[in-house]
Amino acid sequence: MKQIRIIFAFCALTAALPTVAQVPYDRLVKSDSEPANWLMYGGNYYDQRFSGLKQLTPQNVAGLKMAWAYQPTRPAGNVETSPVVVDGIMYVTEPPSTVTALDAHTGAKLWTWSPLLKNVVAIGLFQTNRGVAVLDNRVYVATIDAHLVCLDAKTGAVIWNTVVADNKMGYAITGPPLAIDGRVMIGTGGSEAAVRGLLDCFDAKTGKRLWRIWTVPAAGEPEAATWGNSVPAGGTTWNAAAYDPKLNLVYWGTGNPAPDWNGDERPGSNLYTCSLLAIDPVTGKVKWYFQFSPHETHDWDASEPPILFDGVVGGKSRKLLGFANRNAFYYVLDRETGKFVAGQPYAKQTWAKGLDAEGQPIVIPDTGPSSEGNLVFPSITGAINWTSNSYSPVTKMFYVDAREMGSYFVKGTNTHWEMGKFPMNAGGERALSGDDAYGAIRALEATTGKMKWEFRLHSPSWVGTLATAGGLVFSGTDEGNFFALDAVTGKPLWDVYLGSSLRSNPVTYAVDGKQYVFVTAGTTYFVFGLP
């Protein structure tokens, strides 16, 4: 009898489930026209993390209650996922590389897929996964052992599984793929294992590699002149990207050169590390690059997700790109040309006098790592790290999760390295006490970086921001608070304590006309809505 009831319940559940819709490229391009869905990592190709949903407002957000929670069975690592929601189905990832489909209305698990992982090499990074991409009726995920896998969106069955790079050499993937018209792009991590940075593009249907960009040169290539006599390494591509379908350009940031903290053996600017690359996704050609931190020695990757927006500068409408860099400067670039438009610090920094007319840092001498430890702001983890910012076309503000923290940067002497063998940390940090550090959600005027308001956090956080047309900004704290601020004033409107550090980018979606907000804390996935 019991068994029958269970079967009946199962049938009722599956009958009530929404059907999986196809997500053609055209739907992704027009994602802003269907705010009920959160169709890709950054919400839209501009990576704005802005939702057009207006049900939740400053007036009613205090009434938010938990709608459901989901807990993975055995999460092996930090939960840092940012879901994709398509027509009532939510695709989340679980550490290290599992994909699970949930009913976005109830949290019920529909299917789950995990790769077979053996002898994973993960050097200088957490074994986690930050999200998937969806295209047509397929879900794409990259794994910690550096595979790109295509799953059937209805069942989780593997359609293809391609090796991106050799995990044994230290290549590992935690970031989300970018799916565009018939193509899926993916980068990797591994700078601390001194791998050679790369960015790959695959045929979305077959998994065949269409092109590869090496982000640092081979010996003899012109850019090798920016590396002294060393073998160029690092410049990995481990975080999310943005895409402009009209310009047909993908914007992807690159990480630090290797070895970190001791740049003696790599004199020069170390192209194309700590840079933003604008890439033609059809040809794989780099149209332009912008290097934020030449000859970097603080581990300030330029891997932060860029945000595309259109704004007025000097009375002229411009296609722009906003970038809050780990080095504590906010940059505005012309996204057609890569030319510097504006920039200023958005958090405390003590390493540069400012930016020159080209956006290059005017570096203060003796602000690199030293053998005794040199106190510099921001810290090794940066004024921001992997989390995403948001941009509201309503307020025209850029909402950044700023980390106010310094480190004593220590220069190590062990600069010998062999690719894939060893963590290549030629130094490190002694971070300041937690009581000498704090965090802040800051609203910047997107076209200039001028701060409009801030909301202080007890400690530097690892939570992205989410902006909504309802006039809210959601974010969270490292201590475990999830909260909503007024997008115009920064006033706190609602908060709830979730009992463990939040480590994800919140998203919002709607099912059956009701708006929900998603975030994770610890290893639990929470969804909130009005009762």
Binding site: I123, M169, T381, M405, N425, G428, G480, Y497
Partner: protein, 276 residues
């Protein structure tokens, strides 16, 4: 191009060996013993910086990974070496099978030097007499040793393994002068423990005590009687953090210098609960 290919082949071969060794506790049966000569410790420091500091902090005090200070004392060299070379499955602790037994011993030798304040100093008093001083000075009201005592202040069962005599003496004379940091996370900084806080509510009530918990919206104090008080920060008219102050009294005027030496010797002897 040819030479690059050759280099990468060699690197691949090396890393395949490394990966094989990482899969399990290495088969190398050489016993692991901490190496403690100055040259060993110097090399251990280099290896530690390159291998361990990213997660455990340059001072081994913990960052993404836990604090390693005092761990070799608790686990012993062999168990420590097995973890270093074999990792801890299901955690962020990878195995570093590329380290041989000697290098592993050097790393352990270096870790043994970390986190000990005034390590070279030796307590000069008498621990047995110090135990009586501890019992008669009111310490048990606020501190627990091996399960006995009150819970207002920190538990002291292992304090001799973690803090040197100089630190203990300073704390007895000027409590709050040197506050320890939690073995917290690099990514947000390690908070000061036992921070003294003064809070005033909107209705004018004033509260003092040790910070037990704080986040962006709330703070929790433990007062001198051990009572907890929880506040929403937005509802406070004043919130002062007063490093240097403490709910613990100074023993500067209540203990003689010999008594102080004896008490420091007793506390220094506390290296953890005895196995039953």
């Amino acid at each position: 191009m040819k030479s690059i290919g050759a280099v990468s082949l060699v690197a691949t071969a090396i890393c395949m060996l490394t990966a094989a060794a990482q899969a399990q506790i290495p088969r190398d049966p050489t016993p692991i013993v901490a190496k403690t000569s100055p040259a060993d410790i110097a090399n251990g420091k280099l290896l530690f910086e390159a291998t361990c500091s990213r997660c455990h902090g340059l001072d081994g005090g913990g960052s993404d990974g836990p604090s390693l200070q005092g761990v070799p004392d608790r686990l012993g060299d062999q168990a420590m070496g097995d973890i270093i070379r074999g990792g801890i499955p299901g955690t962020g602790m990878n195995g570093f099978g590329s380290l041989n037994a000697e290098e592993t011993g050097q790393v352990i030798g270096y870790i043994r030097t970390l986190g000990r304040t005034a390590e070279a100093a030796v307590a000069k008093g008498d621990a047995a007499r110090g135990k009586s001083v501890y019992a008669s000075s009111g310490c048990t009201h606020c501190h627990i040793i091996n399960g006995e005592g009150g819970g207002v202040g920190p538990e002291l069962s292992r304090v001799g393994a973690m803090r040197g005599p100089s630190y203990l003496r300073t704390t007895l004379l000027t409590p709050g002068a040197i506050l320890p940091k939690e073995a917290g996370a690099m990514e947000r900084g390690r908070w000061t423990q036992f921070l003294f806080v003064h809070a005033v509510t909107k209705d004018g009530h004033s509260y003092e005590g040790t910070r037990v918990y704080e986040d962006s919206f709330t703070i929790e104090l433990k007062d001198a009687t051990g009572k907890f008080h929880s506040f929403r920060k937005l509802e406070l008219t004043k919130l002062e953090k007063l490093p240097g102050r403490s709910v613990m009294p100074s023993f500067k005027d209540t203990l003689s210098l010999p008594q102080l030496d004896d008490l420091v010797a007793y506390l220094s002897s506390l290296k953890g609960a005895q196995a039953q």
